[in-house]
């Protein structure tokens, strides 16, 4: 693997975080059928206000069937690379070989601060939240349109105001 420069690493990670923020939060509001596609098949921990949720499919189920209309607004967010050579276990088993690793084989941390309104209408109170994600490379080799380069490995949502 060629060693990527700090510039490239910063560019790739911050742009990936931005892309994630710009699609995931709108999806929580109005594209809930797509939610499971944001998740790794075997996430370690998904938490909403201390409630443990098993996986992306369960998150999607909760948001599609149990949640009132919801509006999220991200007010501040930041990200950092955790592991720039993340060991991806390929779908067929075994580690992705070093020779095939590129700059996108990074895992990274995203921390978001914003507010959410539950229920319809702008008059609903704004509840501040803080949310932490760890995103890891998508192990799947498919090249379909809309394929996500990174998936949620862990997630922790908390209302804080």
């Amino acid at each position: 693997m060629a060693t990527a420069s700090e510039d490239t690493l910063t560019k790739v990670s911050t742009e990936a975080a931005t892309e994630f923020i710009k699609t995931f939060y709108p999806a929580l509001g109005s594209n809930r059928e797509s939610l499971s596609s944001y998740y790794s098949l075997e996430p370690t921990t998904i938490l909403f206000n201390g409630n443990r949720v098993a996986d992306g499919a369960a998150v999607q189920e909760i948001f599609t069937n149990q949640m009132s209309p919801t509006y999220y607004e991200v007010q501040s967010y930041d990200c950092q690379i955790i592991n720039k050579a993340y060991p991806t276990i390929l779908p067929g088993g075994g580690l992705k070989p070093q020779s095939e690793m590129g700059v996108k084989d990074m895992s990274f941390l995203i921390v978001v601060s914003g507010f959410v309104r539950y229920g319809e209408g702008r008059d609903q109170p704004q509840r501040g939240f803080s949310e932490t994600f760890v995103l890891v490379p998508n192990p799947s080799a498919e090249r379909a349109r809309g394929r996500k380069d990174w998936l949620i490995e862990s997630q922790n949502f908390r209302l804080v105001v």
């Binding site: 050579a85 601060s113 539950y118 109170p125």
Partner: protein, 682 residues
């Protein structure tokens, strides 16, 4: 906020600059609502004022038009002015103890322009005054960025202008220059001068400011009942002391009386907290108010009151109260009996909508406490913290980190960061807050804030991320000193969650699959001392912890520190007292100076007798075994079963995770699994 753009550097794009929006922005840190809500409110206020500004002041007869209100009616189409007026109403920053509430900007008061020829302009001469100030400053500048009034607002006859610190000298040089035929006075604007000016304006006998202050203090003393936390400002017109002062004889002093009274009140308290706690109820009954414009500053001085009595006034409709639409968020009791507004068919609905905690309106119950509580309910119930630790690494880290951050950042940095650690911070300047509190600027924090929503240039994104022990030490030492609440005595003010994360970089480079660690999320509050005043902020701090080259063997791999206005801690008080998996940071234990135990990796779940090195590559351990151990770890984490049962489930399904999971779900649904299959809650 979009306003960041206007502050970024002083270089103008060309000769023609856009007025208004680019300069009259407010500090994000004073904001209560989202930008759009604010815009809506500003519009609403504007329409409320249309043709209505000539309402009565506290005085009774329809004469109490302040300069401000006059200006509003006259120039309400001017965007610049509207924003200035808004910031005047919404910004409770005048007596905040610290002089500069404009972030890094310096404030100057400009007076005397009201008697200039420009004062008869459509906007009262503000536009030309600002242009004049900028022109004068630019005439002093030989090179470098052009001078600019970054933002401004009016307070009666004073223009408060905010400029970059490097322009301070130039501003002062304009003092006594002639603007459109009038000499203008330019001085540094401080809380003290603001009060003096306010008092002087409300002063019936010019020059007796100190006397006025004393008398107002006496009047407030008589009307304040500490035992019941009531400030009774009813029937002010009939107050013999006020009558004796002659406050109400003069149109101008009458309208300025109330704001001055509020400032005198605020000065009587050392801290905001003390002031906030002193009063729960205010009465403004029987004051002949036809709208709230003359008493609007009440909302800044008493943002948290629960009871407000406005009975026996002349308030006609909700428009007459629109300035308080977003104020008094804790209002439980509101009395508007004997006001025309009470007979409006939409009155009750409007007030319920405006004040989410309102329970009693005109002495009738309109909402039960349960209904108030139900509003707060979230679709996903709030549970106690999820805290899955690993050999107490997370717990020990928290115990050491926050006292260390408060008391000895140098040692802290040396003990838990190494040359691969990364740190960055960001400020959410528009976060919702618990109460409408004054907030000091974000100073040092905002200069380092890496909010990716605002910081879009790659170079800035790079320079605001700090890697390695020395850079982190430097940043920590530049950030303001803090005091965090005690982790045990004030446990309710903290929310600390923790869970394992796999595949962190291995500092030894030996493990191709990396090493395990913890994700630790801490929400809480911190205090800073700013200009002798205690400021409370809320924060969210996420740490990724893993093995590293530190004295204790544990390093912060990544840390993101988010700051925001104080938001309280009620949001995480559990709705359901569930069986918590949390060994809540409980019994007092001596605080270690550094996290002592190395992480036993990866994601081992407590409760099981997990052998050292489980799930880790080791000499002699086959790849298959390693993979199986990792699958067991994951299965256990996901299902809550012990390692033993997790292994049974996997092995029994040919190590197919999906089948094993389905099998587990079936067994669980039919209660076929014994209690011993599950890890006992700690």
């Amino acid at each position: 906020m979009k306003s960041m753009k206007s502050r970024r550097g002083g270089n103008d794009r060309g000769g023609i600059r856009k007025r208004g929006p680019t300069r009259t922005d407010r500090d994000g840190d004073m904001d209560m609502d989202s930008g759009s809500a604010r815009a809506k409110r500003t519009r609403a206020e504007k329409s409320a004022l249309g043709g209505r500004a000539a309402g009565t002041g506290v005085g009774g007869r329809a004469t109490g038009i302040s300069n401000r209100a006059q200006a509003r009616t006259k120039h309400r189409d001017s965007d610049l002015f509207e924003r200035a007026v808004y910031s005047n109403n919404g910004q409770a920053n005048v007596i905040s103890g610290n002089k500069k509430t404009g972030g890094d900007l310096e404030q100057f008061s400009v007076r005397g322009w009201k008697s200039s020829k420009a004062a008869s302009n459509r906007d009262g001469g503000l536009e030309s005054l600002i242009a004049f100030l900028e022109r004068r400053m630019n005439s002093f500048i030989k090179s470098g960025p052009r001078a600019k009034i970054t933002k401004s607002r009016t307070e009666g006859d004073t223009l408060v202008a905010f400029v970059r610190p490097d322009l301070a000298g130039h501003m002062l040089r304009i003092n006594n220059n002639v603007f459109a035929g009038a000499h203008v006075t330019v001085e540094e604007y401080t809380a003290a001068t603001a009060l003096d000016q306010e008092l002087a304006a409300a002063d019936p006998v010019p020059g007796s400011t100190a006397d006025t202050k004393t008398k107002m203090t006496t009047i407030l003393g008589k009307r304040f009942f500490p035992a019941t936390k009531l400030l009774d400002l009813s029937k002010l017109l009939d107050d013999p002391d006020l009558q004796a002062m002659g406050i109400f004889h003069n149109v101008s002093t009458k309208s300025k009386f109330f704001p001055a009274l509020m400032k005198v009140w605020e000065l009587g308290f050392k801290t905001v907290a003390e002031r906030r706690e002193a009063v729960e109820s205010v009465s403004l009954a029987e004051n002949n108010l036809s709208n709230i414009s003359s008493v609007t500053t009440l909302a800044q001085s008493f943002p948290d009151i629960q009871h407000l009595d406005l009975s026996k006034n002349n308030i006609k409709n909700s428009q007459a109260m629109i300035g308080w639409r977003w104020k008094f968020r804790n209002l439980v009791f509101l009395d508007l009996t004997e006001n025309e507004i009470s007979s409006d068919p939409t009155f009750k609905d409007t007030m319920l909508k405006w004040y989410p905690k309102l329970q009693t309106l005109n002495n009738v119950q309109v909402r039960t406490p349960e209904e108030v509580a139900a509003q707060k309910k979230t679709p996903i119930p709030v549970l106690p913290p999820h805290f899955i630790d690993e050999s107490q690494v997370g717990e020990n880290f928290v115990r050491a980190f926050f006292p260390g951050y408060d008391n000895d950042r140098n040692s802290l940095v040396s003990s838990v960061y190494d040359d691969q650690s990364t740190f960055s911070l960001n400020v959410n300047t528009t976060a919702p807050r618990a109460t409408q509190t004054e907030t000091a600027g974000w100073g040092e924090y905002i200069r380092k804030s890496r909010n990716l929503d605002k910081i879009s240039h790659l170079s800035a994104r790079m320079s605001r991320s700090f890697k390695g022990i020395e850079k982190i030490r430097e940043v920590f030492n530049e950030l303001p000193p803090t005091r965090h609440p005690d982790l045990i005595a004030k446990a309710e003010q903290w929310l600390i969650e923790c869970h394992p994360v796999p595949h962190l970089p291995d500092p030894t480079g030996q493990s191709p699959t990396g090493v395990g660690g913890l994700s630790l999320m801490v929400h809480g509050q911190l205090e800073e001392s700013i200009g002798g005043k205690i400021e409370i902020r809320s924060f969210d701090r996420t740490f990724i912890l893993g093995p590293g080259n530190t004295p204790g063997g544990i390093r912060v791999v990544s840390e993101i520190f988010c700051l925001r206005a104080y938001g309280g801690h009620e949001a995480w008080s559990p709705e359901i007292q569930a069986l918590s998996q949390i060994p809540q940071i409980a019994a007092p234990v001596p605080i270690p100076t550094a996290a002592p135990t190395p992480l036993a990796v990866p994601a081992a779940v407590p409760g099981g007798n997990v052998p050292e090195g489980y799930g880790l590559p080791r000499p002699g351990k086959s790849d298959t075994q390693l993979q199986q151990e990792q699958m067991i770890t994951q299965m256990s984490g996901k299902s809550g079963m012990t390692f033993e049962y997790s292994e049974m489930a996997l092995a029994g399904n040919g190590w197919n995770v999906e089948l094993a999971w389905k099998n587990f779900e079936q067994l669980k649904a039919t209660n076929a699994l014994p209690p011993t299959a599950f890890i006992a809650p700690a």
